[in-house]
Symmetry: C2
Subunit: 275 residues, 2 copies
């Protein structure tokens, strides 16, 4: 029998880590997720989380991940090292570092925790969106490569140059259906990358894209494995907003919802912008 | 002449660090900010930030701080080590660790950045609250010590046992005036501690306080030194909310506003709870 060749999804290729010892890995950037001056931060975040998930002492699922983007990641190879800082009864705390030569390109802290069934209660309500098939797909031709690795169906706030200006700022609020392109069953790695798929807010608010870079990104995973499995490869309902642009930084908060109305992840970031 | 003795503010005592070498400090817990089973997390966060601010290579003001609470801090001494991970042109990235003996009690990552004047724009609106003097002060007699180190004037959602229950959950939304007690001029250390002064959300939502602990706390500083100086020792307008309690964790987001309507900091956390 000839084995069937199943093509590796671009995300799985981007987060592929070759073990080099306990807690040590080597990987490489891929052109699939290239951004303006380096890889898409969402894949960097997913790579740092994968280093934790691949660690032999890891128990439980991701609860929190904070990624600090220290330097532009250059095209090519990188090393990732992960350290179990604290092995507690209910949670494990991890520190992760991505290096290229002498340069620390990014760091992360992650918390993993055992799957637990507890009292649960949702206070926030999912966005009310028309079904994905009723919403036009955002064109990504001629844009940064990473945008082509997602299918965006914006209901509100599709990022568009020139709709706003410094003198007449626009809203930062967005609502969209979003999924990997090609479609891929949801897991914590994909969810991590998806939590950074909100196009830089200054485009919506000021109408242009100056030099801009996420400084720090924190994602909280509110869903268990079963909820991700139920969602499968269907689009997530994603909402995002920003509160203020001041002194060269802006904040951003986002929520990622399953299509049956469960909050899968919340994600916050602070972004540096020039001028 | 007899020197005038000015009593040290309890917060300054709590964050006092004795240098033990470059990036190495020793400190000790104080009873003033004791919580249920260790010091108030806000002071731990402020201590970790102070270690960064005291570092001789530090330039600029705090932009982002993420604190991971790994283990209960025991009463007594602790050591803090801080490492400059990346010294970039516009930002510096720091990793911090608090240890007691062999135990890593907490870790932090911090980003500092140069003061810059840029285009600025506020999208979020400050809460509309009656003036502080028109709002009753929350009684803190007989409660955990750290609560006595703040003056809380709740306009909405004063945390009270028994108002909600598992079967009839309450809202997590709060609005309050809050300041250090005794009053103290605002700086980044006080602002950091203030960003964790939102009483555990499960009390508002379920009406009780099971074993509960913040796992990870991220604070983004949107204000410059001048804005903090303008605010001085007057109460901040603080709002907070939570989105979901599920699988033993809940999220929380908060905003801290100056009394002239500027967003000084936003803060997010994920909290572990039992049962």
């Amino acid at each position: 029998m000839t084995p069937t060749t199943i093509a590796e999804h671009p995300l799985d290729k981007a987060v592929r880590l070759e073990p080099r010892g306990v807690g040590l890995y080597r990987g490489a950037t891929t052109p699939d997720y290239w951004n303006m001056a380096g890889p898409f931060g969402g894949t960097t975040a997913a790579i740092l989380l994968k280093a934790v998930l691949d660690h032999p002492e890891r128990r439980g699922r991701p609860v929190a991940l904070t990624v600090n983007f220290c330097a532009a990641v250059a095209e090519g190879e990188f090393e990732v090292s992960v350290r179990l800082v604290r092995d507690g009864r209910s949670t494990q705390h991890w520190n992760v570092e991505m290096t290229q030569g002498e340069t620390v390109a990014s760091t992360a802290s992650a918390v993993t925790g055992a799957e637990r069934d507890t009292w649960s209660h949702a206070l926030a309500a999912p966005p009310v969106l028309p079904p994905p098939h009723a919403v036009a797909t955002m064109p990504t031709d001629g844009r940064n490569a990473w945008l082509k690795r997602y299918e965006f169906r914006y209901v509100l706030g599709e990022p568009t140059r020139g709709l706003a200006s410094a003198e007449a700022p626009g809203s930062a609020a967005t609502q969209a259906w979003v999924r990997d392109e090609p479609a891929r069953p949801l897991d914590y790695l994909a969810l991590t990358a998806l939590s950074d798929t909100f196009v830089v807010k200054i485009l919506n608010v000021r109408g242009d894209v100056p030099p801009v870079a996420t400084v720090s990104l924190s994602t909280y995973f509110m869903a268990d494995e079963a909820a991700l499995a139920r969602q499968g490869a269907r689009p997530l309902a994603a909402v995002s907003d920003a509160r203020v642009f001041r002194h060269g930084f802006n904040d951003q908060s986002a929520e990622l919802w399953s299509d049956d109305g469960q909050l899968l992840a919340v994600s916050h970031q602070v972004v540096w912008f020039k001028g």
